[in-house]
């Protein structure tokens, strides 16, 4: 029996197990029979087992370069390092659906294992929904696009992996995102199951909290890794193009961020329940929109014009689950009205509500930009394009408001706040931020440096001040030194201080984005050996060009020495490579950028064009100075750290209503 048969068999068994799970779980949910619930658990775990076998088979086929499989011959060749042979799995459309579905099966099995966490009344509902989602994914990779499809004629060598994807970031970016999508589907299943069974809010909020944080963190980090890849690998000097594919990853992140704030209000004050439910449902739908867009449902210039057979099915899945979820909300509308008391807008819950509204507005704006051209074309036949100025002008200011707002929330208490208690912190932080802005102005920073200094420093100082006050209280009360007290504070309320760290991360990212968008400098020159060009404060001299050939590519490697104010600071070696397999197909050579990074700015050097001829060594060099970009990646570190700290906190059953201010 060949690899293809084993994999195919495992997938079909997983598919059957998923169908059995849906049916048995459905009946189990209806009858609450313990026996049926046990069978459901076993069958859900067996889906994961068969799925894992299928995935292992696919990975094995990649590692052994089994070219009898289409998925292998289409994405790898014999020269590809083994680690990238793994990323070739999700370079394939069907392969990526396989990976995604497999992660959902693992998470479902985890829930089936931890049965004591969930009541018998709700467990079969959750598993039924999760199994139904898996039926969809398994049907996609079996009947719509067969992962284990065999090549009709023998193939001796594969096509090879697109050189752009031969990068550590691309090894990590897709799986991290799929992990987050899978976590979001767990949250969705829990929410829907809770709605069906009328589970009390405090219970489901406790269940979904950590899954949500996990999904939120992986989604944010996954997007940032994508940005990093785009910046370092794609060769256009930017990290965000408002491309439909990027937008697709951003929208659910806005929504899940809003959802986190919403359930935080639920935990503390038992409010905003309707917001939470709707946000969870739409976060899930927007994660499904991602493959719809990436698989060609909406044309995306940056990511190529590829089409797969999945989009119509994905669209159907979105519409069905959306209609079902909203219908369920409608049926439960009486329950949802219960206990929804009004609250003061000048309070932390009021501020969180405002945050939710802003995040939803952002999502709507990005959605309009992403789908409007497509809708206009469908209805009027006119094709239009929306360029990035739309997003920059609309989403940019809203995001700045949001960042500034992060400084307001910590100042407000739950329930009611009097302006008095917040006044001193507010004024102090605002004055400090203005002071920084003045300093920035004096040392010669431009308009956007000043604006971003105010917008970013204000929330930053509020957070520092809050932290300092808590530490001072501990210092005075328990005689701990300040450093120890700050850490102890973090430990005593991980959701809150983890959140603060995340906000610091967002502030760093915002600062990096604003400054690098407005103050990036770019210079293009065609140079002969020995000639120089100037970009920003830097002088670049083109010293030498080396031609080299190996099994997969012809490389041209330039040696460029860099000096600043007459002082030599180093050499960089940008490359421009002609890949035998890919360059003819794509009509393109692939550049390896050379970067010199300092906390203040990145110097980017591209060997944009060479003649690939020993005789003519003239080269077109593009050089850029991008300020503060590294702050974006550092912000990502804070996001991960803060997210992990918040995640490490586990709500106890008893402590549900304890106020955690």
């Amino acid at each position: 029996m060949g690899t293809a048969e084993i994999g195919q068999g495992a997938i079909i068994l997983a598919f059957l197990a998923a169908i059995v799970s849906v049916v048995v779980a459905g009946i189990g949910a209806y009858t609450s029979s313990r026996r049926l619930i046990s069978i459901t658990r076993i069958s859900v775990i067996s889906i994961a087992a068969f799925y894992s076998l299928a995935l292992a088979t696919a990975v094995f086929a990649f590692l052994t370069r089994d070219y009898s499989l289409r998925i292998v011959s289409a994405h790898v060749d014999s020269n590809l390092p083994a680690s990238y042979a793994l990323s070739a799995l999700y370079a394939d459309k069907a392969g990526s659906m396989l990976l995604w579905g497999w992660l959902i099966s693992l998470f479902s099995a985890l829930i089936a294992f931890r049965k004591h966490e969930y009541d018998n009344s709700i467990l079969p509902h959750m598993l039924c929904i999760l199994a139904a989602i898996q039926v969809f994914f398994l049907a996609m990779v079996t009947f719509v696009g067969n992962v284990f499809e065999q090549n009709p004629t023998p193939v001796t060598e594969g096509i090879g992996l697109n050189p752009w994807l031969q990068n550590i970031a691309m090894l990590v970016h897709p799986p991290v995102l799929y992990i987050s999508f899978a976590a979001v589907s767990v949250v969705f299943a829990m929410i829907i199951a809770s709605l069906i069974t009328r589970t009390p809010d405090d219970q489901w909020v406790r269940w979904v909290r950590r899954w949500t944080l996990f999904g939120w963190c992986t989604l944010g980090i996954g997007n940032l890794i994508g940005m990093w890849w785009s910046y370092n690998e794609l060769g256009w000097g930017g990290y965000w193009a408002w491309d439909p594919v990027e937008n697709a990853g951003l929208m659910p992140w806005f929504l899940i961020t809003a959802f986190i704030h919403s359930i935080s209000v639920q935990r503390q004050r038992n409010r905003l329940r309707r917001w939470s439910l709707v946000l969870a449902i739409f976060t899930f739908e927007f994660t499904l929109l991602i493959p719809f867009i990436t698989h060609g449902g909406i044309e995306s210039p940056l990511h190529g014009f590829i089409h797969s057979y999945f989009p119509p099915y994905i669209l159907a899945a979105i519409l069905i689950t959306l209609a079902g979820s909203l219908g369920l909300l409608y049926i439960r509308r009486k329950d949802l009205q219960r206990d929804e008391r009004s609250f003061s807008l000048v309070s932390r819950e009021g501020a969180f509500l405002a945050t939710n509204i802003i995040l939803v507005l952002l999502t709507v704006v990005v959605l309009i930009g992403t789908v409007l051209p497509r809708i206009v074309e469908l209805f009027s036949g006119t094709r239009i394009a929306i360029d990035r100025s739309f997003y920059d002008r609309v989403a940019g200011p809203i995001m700045l408001v949001l960042v500034f707002f992060m400084g307001v929330c910590p100042l407000l208490g739950w329930a009611k706040t009097s302006w008095k208690s917040a006044k001193s912190s507010f004024l102090f932080s605002l004055l400090a931020a203005l002071l920084v802005a003045v300093v920035v102005l004096i040392v010669g920073g431009g308009k956007w440096y000043v604006i971003s200094a105010i917008v970013c420093c204000f929330p930053f100082f509020v957070i520092l001040l809050e932290w300092f006050r808590g530490a001072r209280a501990r210092h005075q009360g328990r005689k701990e030194n300040y450093f120890r007290a700050s850490l102890a504070l973090l430990d005593s309320n991980r959701p809150k201080y983890g959140g603060f760290l995340v906000h610091i991360g967002i502030i760093l990212i915002a600062l990096g984005i604003v400054v690098s968008s407005f103050y990036s400098v770019e210079k293009v020159s065609t140079l002969d050996i020995g000639q120089s060009m100037k970009v920003g404060d830097y002088d670049l001299t083109y010293d030498e060009l080396l031609l080299k050939q190996d099994n997969v590519k012809i490389s041209t490697i330039a040696t460029i020495s860099m000096s600043k104010q007459g002082r030599l600071i180093g050499e960089v070696y940008p490359e421009n490579n002609y890949w035998f397999y890919y360059s003819p197909i794509l009509n393109e050579t692939f550049r390896e950028v050379a970067v010199r990074t300092t906390p203040a700015e990145d110097v980017f050097v591209y060997l944009w064009w060479t003649s690939f001829d020993q005789q003519d060594k003239s080269a077109t060099i593009i050089a850029m100075v991008n300020p503060l970009v590294v702050w974006i990646w550092a912000g990502g570190g804070f996001l991960l750290l803060g997210g992990a700290i918040a995640f490490s906190h586990q709500d106890k059953r008893e402590s549900q209503h304890k106020d955690r201010r």
Binding site: A74, V365, I386, V394, I585
Partner: protein
């Protein structure tokens, strides 16, 4: 509401028509000075590239019609005869196209992760 206004106001200037070469030439003078995106194929022997002045010129063709595109900046490495391109920029009254961006369409064999 403010956001709605912002969306409306910004859409106006950010939207551009997306046409093929023959569609552009059909509309002709009514598009002079407008921001448009035009799709076409690079014509044979039409690429002229001056590496020192960074001036690039080429003809794109579609539906039997030709359009001269001029561009200032680095030559996109994938720009070859017969490749599909999408140019974004302004259609000028001398019937040439001043491109600000050149996007190369990838053949269908190209399957990147995203």
């Amino acid at each position: 509401m403010a956001v709605g206004l912002l969306v409306y106001a910004s859409l106006g200037s950010a939207v551009s028509y997306y046409l093929t070469v023959s569609e552009l030439l059909d509309k002709g003078s009514e598009l002079y000075g407008e921001r448009v995106r035009v799709a076409g194929k690079v014509a044979n022997n039409s690429i002229e590239w001056d590496a020192d002045t960074l001036e690039l010129g080429f003809v794109i063709t579609e539906g039997g019609e030709d359009l001269l595109v001029v561009y200032e900046g680095a030559r996109p490495s994938g720009l070859k005869e017969d490749s599909n391109v999408l140019v974004e920029g302004e259609y000028r009254s001398d019937n040439t196209f001043q491109a600000s961006t050149i996007i190369l369409k990838c053949p269908s064999k190209y399957e990147p992760e995203e």
